[in-house]
Symmetry: C2
Subunit: 411 residues, 2 copies
């Protein structure tokens, strides 16, 4: 009998009616002969309500007590779903993270899972019961309640699926799968049937925020097939899995973009060893995260360095860079907040040359100037002016024929 | 250093502001050099809100899941109080029933406490921390969350005080102590400084619902000094303790009454062995609880039996009684819903005769007819017409001089 872990987020359990819908979905899985473990978030808005209460009492509440407080949110939804299943004649048992037990480290509000006991869940499943587990929470070795941080319910679900060797981990959200790009930008964007863990990581970290990055990493590490589906409609969703021969043989799986970045440039720095560190060290020390970094040879034994940071950190980074420039005797410092990063992602890149040049040609044909280029094994990212975002994404979507479902004869 | 267990009910923690007040009260106890363990209920209304959600989902939710659901109520308040204490510079730790651990049997929604682990609490107290425990809840030997039933937080507090050998268990409520009778009926009613466990049990079970009966029984059994105080005003409250020489030397401690009863009479039943059982057996089988029972010798080798039940059960009991009367060939069945039970309570009765006759004379002087009389070691109860309730209670309050504080020379 197949064992499925299903995870429903806050909007999927946001009201009594929606919890009833989740129960119906679980009943269908049971009717299809599947053993089911359900992982739930708190009702949407509940975690924020609880944090609001905490801040009213204490602007800086201790993280230990915050975890005691907010972990009640999922405890409410698991009990309600178990009741909804029992009403339908389906025996069910709810468990908090502590009850399971999901053992974590002691890093309150951002704990990491160390181990999951599965004996009790297996016993319930053998007895024909549905197991309903509170996501997002666990317990440390001293018995303190911990939480995994925002979005941690995805991680709980994947970790449970891995511990139980489940056949699939289904993440129900308010979108019906992973798309070739954002459908709000490209109307022809197409839902992908399959995508690899690596591609999903690149897509997620680049701004397609369907799944928590940590949960995808986890799923990849333990090879847990992960499926993203909508809890509000039917459909197969998107399966995230290992690369295999059966995989869609597309060159490119999708186009991601990120509007949250800003670009900084320092020009005419003496080109000596350790110069990158002398420039970026102070930035890192100020807790500013740097994304893309490009260094070019400049003129007269000097060099130019360009990097991107989150837009919220732009002013701070610019200030640091001006100070560093003065110390190093750099020629010029400049910054640009009106940029976006556009990336094409796909494991097909590994075996096919010419992706980069096709990308650059497409942008050139549209007269879009490229400010920065950065590549990885399965991704090529460019920085362009923000005003060209839609044009660039649509042109690339067309150029790589992402609106058409690939088939084996595609290339 | 004295160790105090303080318990605050739902209205005392019903808002952020009130939780702050509780924190202030705990700080005063700390400033007075006391170690403090706090036991909290859920915010008033929260338990009912949660049960409402459950009933929306499932009209007959399983008790196991109900316990998972409603136990979140106290988990919220303990975290918030711990945060309020930390804001005031007082280290604190909150614990759910499962975390403490308060081991109970598996009778969900009405579990009984079996054992309490105190190691962790003692460690916290030694380190100068205030321990904040969720009342009303525990965990069974299989790790299931249990609750003790309504009002169970009082029981939690007393059980913790017993396990920790606390010097006093303080129950904060919305009244400032135990009174000689209901001040709404007798304006001169006086707060008692002390009362014995036994007297309190008689007062509570007779309708002065200040404390849960179970918690008083528990306190008496383990000799935990129990103090009832107001969480909204200052004052010493009422200490409930063992009878001692230092005790107020009053004949009578208070006058209790109960408007919730109804009286049923069956007359002219053959006076044969087992007749009481043949009449009351069917009543008990219908789950109707019988309070007072009086049997009189009737005429012609017959007997009359009168008993009281809760008014909600009156019609049901009357129907059963008519059926039984037909079977037994009884002469007459009658019922009266317009009655009240009035009781005088006091350990002084043990050593002083004449209490009953003073009570009966007082009622006779007021021309109040007595329907039933029942006595125990420290209580005399009478049933009278409901319209005489206020008159009877006031006359007895005067007759036993309950408005005056007793002193050693009182008798």
């Amino acid at each position: 009998m197949a064992l499925i872990v299903q995870k429903y987020g806050g909007t999927s359990v946001g009201s009594i009616e929606r919890i009833e819908n989740v129960a119906e979905r679980v009943m269908r899985a049971r009717a299809a002969g599947q053993d089911v473990v359900v992982v739930l978030s708190a009702m949407s808005g509940e975690t924020n309500r609880l944090i609001g209460l905490a801040r009213e009492i204490n602007p800086r509440p201790s993280e230990r007590e915050l975890d005691v407080l907010v972990s009640t949110g999922e405890q409410v939804t698991i009990a309600l779903l178990a009741m909804a299943l029992e009403k339908r004649g389906q025996p069910a048992r709810s468990y908090t993270g502590a009850q399971v037990r999901i053992l974590t480290d002691s890093a309150h509000t951002k704990a990491r899972i160390r181990r999951i006991d599965t004996d009790r869940m297996r016993e319930d499943l053998s007895a024909g019961r549905v197991v309903v587990v509170a996501g997002f929470q666990g317990i440390d070795e001293h018995g303190n309640i911990t939480t995994l941080g925002r979005g941690g319910s995805d991680t709980s679900a994947v970790a449970l699926a891995a511990a139980l060797h489940a056949d699939e981990c289904q993440i129900y959200t308010d979108v019906d799968g992973v798309y070739t790009t954002d459908p709000r930008v490209v109307a022809k964007a197409r839902r992908l049937d399959k995508i690899t863990f690596e591609e999903m990581l690149e897509m997620a970290s680049l701004g397609s925020k369907v799944l928590q990055i940590r949960s995808v990493e986890f799923a990849g590490k333990y090879n847990v097939p992960l499926r993203v589906l909508s809890s509000f409609s039917e459909g197969p969703g998107t399966l995230i899995t290992l690369e295999d021969n059966d995989m869609e043989q597309a060159l490119i799986s999708g186009i991601a973009f990120n509007r949250d970045e800003a670009q900084l440039t320092i020009k005419g720095v003496p080109d000596s060893p350790g110069i990158a560190y002398r420039i970026l060290g102070p930035v890192a020390e100020a807790n500013v995260e740097v994304d893309m970094i490009v260094q070019n040879v400049g003129v007269d034994a000097t060099t130019d360095l360009t990097f991107t940071v989150h837009r919220n950190d732009f002013e701070k980074a610019l200030e640091i860079l001006r100070r560093v420039a003065a110390e190093l005797g750099a020629r010029e410092v400049s910054g640009n907040e009106q940029i976006v990063k556009v990336s094409v992602v796909g494991v097909g890149m590994r075996s096919h040359a010419g992706i980069a040049s096709r990308m650059f040609k497409t942008l050139a044909d549209e007269k879009i100037n490229i400010h920065m280029i950065s590549t990885s094994e399965i991704k090529i990212s460019v920085v362009v002016d923000e005003k060209y975002l839609e044009l660039a994404v649509r042109a690339l979507h067309d150029a790589f024929e992402l609106d058409r479902a690939p088939n084996g004869a595609g290339h």
